[in-house]
Amino acid sequence: MKAFQQNLSKLEAANAQVLGVSMDSTFANKAWADQIGVTFPLLSDRLGQVTRQYGIYNDKTNMGRRTTFTISPQGKIEHIQVDQAAINPADTVDYCTRPKLKT
């Protein structure tokens, strides 16, 4: 999430909103956001419902998978990065900030 924070001004300039999601409590998210200086929303999916809706709940480990979905202004999934690839947000940032060819 720190890496997204570092790229936040770039993403905001590209009309993109960052939302972090995990199965942590709001209290844990508050403490973590304060500690690492995250200013965008960190959402608490305490029961894993949204994590399941997005198909990234791992039943074996009872954990979510690290995944970044980029969603278009019209609400369609445009870009997905999973697991290791989702750790570095550079690809997502590139995707959001590069000029769109079609409108």
């Binding site: 720190k2 909103q17 960052v18 508050k30 960190l42 969603i71 609400g75």
Partner: protein, 71 residues
Amino acid sequence: MRKWICSLLMLLIVAASAGAQMAAPAALNIKVGDSAPDFTLRDQAGKEVSLHDFRGKTVVLAFYVFAFSGA
């Protein structure tokens, strides 16, 4: 008898495909081009945030495993 064999075969096929799905957790059931499921969750300040609040903007929805886990 033939009917019975047929239904047994069908059952086997269904069971095999269910098994295959379970053995492949790497595949996501959401793909590019799908509509993003809407949701409402609370942020770190306790405020409700919904995906539809950001219509007209690109949304980077970043799922992370645990708070305090680096990255």
